[in-house]
């Protein structure tokens, strides 16, 4: 049996399973043991589904024995706790949904189950995916596996920490403004925000519907391509889902990047980027150049406007989406207040944490009479300018390379007092959600022992190019083979 099972890549696990060097039951057991060993320090899981995982592993082994296994059959995974799982508590790390047990699977959960992946449990997150540090979880703290006194990033902090710590072969996150890529960068792993509409959101508990997208969190780009193959594609249950044939994302991985045009948008290096982060990213770009990429500086003047646009649009949409939590149909319900209206106020007062309340209030204000034109409509118009500017630049370059996060992982508590300071954590990742384009974060170095992420963005449906670029980079570097000491 290969040593250190929990740090094999998905591809290595698949090969070991197919060669019968290991069974899925053994692989799953190794991960459950890893969870027991490091979870007291990391806190990546809200729920561990040990019994279900063992049963799914047994079924996967039968499937492997029958010769009907696919690339994810028997692979132990985690899902962020905003993806509905039939019969498994799905909390959104909120008091509102702490006891909520869905009666159906999100499409991504159903597809991965169908592929034979083994669900180990559900990942901690910022409440309702609102945050950049996972400190807004109402349920528990998650530590960055590289330094547990620091945050794992957010909002998919549990998934990123779990994958970095070897507590799952892969996880799925959701990304509304950077919530897959920023924690992936801060935890030294790979995170993909696919093109808007490429992965079904049926069963994803909604935050901001024009921005939300599900994507893989893995330790290598190759693994991300494998997971994308399983989850991407049209779903009639999500009317925003793109109705197109999906390519095999692993097919072109090894084609190399000779002649690839890489743009370096100047403005992304002018938004308070830590000098050592910038140095790592520039060195990564030099590595791409050495592999045959053609690098040129470009300009995207509306980059900084993305912050205001995002923090108007996302809260506005969230204020509408979260109106459903009324204490009547599901979720926490206050039963003590004397009237319907007072119980509604009390349900939402107790059920939601401070950041969720802040965003509901902010969105309600931005959409209210007299402010709609100045805030929401204006933001939607500037959104058009940001989108057009990116569309234009992609007529000249194939991908853009930037930092994923302006800084490495920060300390717990460092940014919790000032929401605006926390929002600035997302400055490099917001424009992609605003314009619906895909992006990937790939580990590209360390600063004082903490991981740095390189972000690659491309035009709509350019995932195959992003995977090929990221994979070429990982063939030339070994950052992704480093693991935290836990």
């Amino acid at each position: 049996m290969p040593a250190n099972l929990h740090y094999l890549t998905v591809k290595e696990m698949t090969q070991a399973l197919q060669r019968r060097e290991v069974s899925s039951v053994e692989l799953t057991q190794a991960h459950l043991e890893r969870i027991v060993a490091v979870e007291p320090q990391v806190g990546a899981y809200v729920t561990v589904t040990e019994a279900e995982a063992k049963e799914q592993a047994r079924q996967a082994d039968m499937r492997i024995a029958a010769g009907s296994a696919g690339p994810l059959t028997g692979i132990p995974m985690q899902l962020k706790d905003n993806m509905s799982t039939n019969g498994v508590r799905t909390t959104c790390s909120s008091r509102m949904l702490e006891q909520y047990v869905p009666r159906y699977d999100a499409t991504v959960a159903a597809r991965l189950k169908g592929a034979g992946a083994v669900l180990l449990g559900k990942g901690n997150m910022d409440e309702f995916a609102m945050g950049s540090s996972t400190e807004n979880s109402a349920l528990q703290i998650t530590g960055n596996p590289w330094d547990t006194s620091r945050v794992p990033g957010g909002s998919s902090g549990g998934p990123a920490a779990a994958v970095a710590a070897g507590q799952a072969a892969f996880s799925l996150g959701s990304d509304t403004g950077g919530s897959i890529r920023q924690p992936a960068a801060l935890c030294g792993i790979v995170g993909v925000k696919p093109t808007y509409g490429l992965v079904s959101r049926y069963g994803l508990i909604a935050f901001a519907s024009s921005l939300d997208q599900i994507g893989p969190i893995t330790r290598t780009v190759q693994d991300a391509a494998v997971v994308m193959n399983a989850v991407a594609g049209h779903d009639p249950m999500d009317s925003t889902s793109i109705n197109q044939l999906i390519p095999d994302y692993t097919a072109d991985l090894d084609r190399g990047i000779k002649g690839l045009r890489v743009g370096l948008p100047r403005e992304y290096f002018e938004v308070g980027i830590d000098p050592e982060v910038e140095a790592s990213v520039r060195e990564a770009v030099a590595t791409l150049e050495a592999q045959g990429a053609i690098v040129e500086e470009v300009s995207l003047p509306h980059t900084q406007d993305a912050l205001a646009v995002y923090y108007i649009i996302a809260p506005s949409e969230c204020s509408a989406n979260l109106a459903r939590y009324d204490g009547v149909k599901f979720g926490y319900s206050d039963q003590n207040a004397p009237s319907l209206w007072e119980s509604l106020d009390a349900t939402r007062q107790f059920g939601f944490g401070p950041e969720v309340k802040r965003r509901i209030l902010l969105g309600t204000y931005a959409l209210s009479a007299g402010y709609y034109d100045a805030f929401y409509k204006k933001a939607q118009q500037v959104r058009t300018l940001i989108r057009r500017e990116l569309e234009e630049v992609f007529t000249r370059v194939d991908v853009l390379a930037t930092p994923t996060s302006p800084t490495v992982a920060f300390k717990h508590g460092e940014r919790t007092d000032d929401p605006v300071q926390m929002y600035l954590s997302d400055i490099c990742t917001l424009p992609t959600n605003i314009s619906g384009i895909p992006a990937i974060s790939v580990p590209c170095g360390f600063t004082d022992g903490l991981p740095v992420g390189l972000q690659l963005m491309g035009p709509h449906l350019s995932e195959a190019t992003l995977f090929r670029t990221g994979h070429a980079y990982q063939q030339a570097t070994d950052w992704h083979t480093n693991h935290p000491m836990l």
Binding site: R103, Y104, D305, Y311, R348, K357
Partner: protein, 105 residues
């Protein structure tokens, strides 16, 4: 205080009004903190006003999908037991709700 801040500094009654609209109960202390934080966030939005958006259409969906319709064919719904499984209060096959025919405060 700059003119921009004067525009965005919320009063405590503004916060109470917004909270009523979205039915989020707030203690006095929470309302005060929310007033400071929301005012500070709104200040960050001031720069948008300076951007010329004359004649620019709004983007509400980034990949250009139009209204998506499904065929009008009946399909089975989720079973009632599943729909009601997480209901805080139920009565038979219904969600139990408090009396709504009273005056909203």
């Amino acid at each position: 205080m700059t003119s921009g801040q004067e525009h965005t500094r919320l009063g405590i009654e503004d916060v109470r009004h917004i909270a009523r609209l979205c039915h989020v109960g707030l203690t006095d202390e929470e309302a005060e903190r929310m007033r400071d934080q929301l005012s500070h966030i709104l200040e960050q939005f001031q720069d948008l006003a300076a951007i010329d958006t004359t004649g620019v259409e709004a983007t509400d969906q980034a990949v250009g999908l139009d209204s998506v319709m499904r065929k009008d064919v009946p399909v089975p719904s989720m079973p009632v037991e599943d729909v009601l499984a997480n209901a805080p209060r139920r009565e038979g096959d219904y969600f139990r709700v408090r009396a709504v025919m009273e005056e909203s405060p």
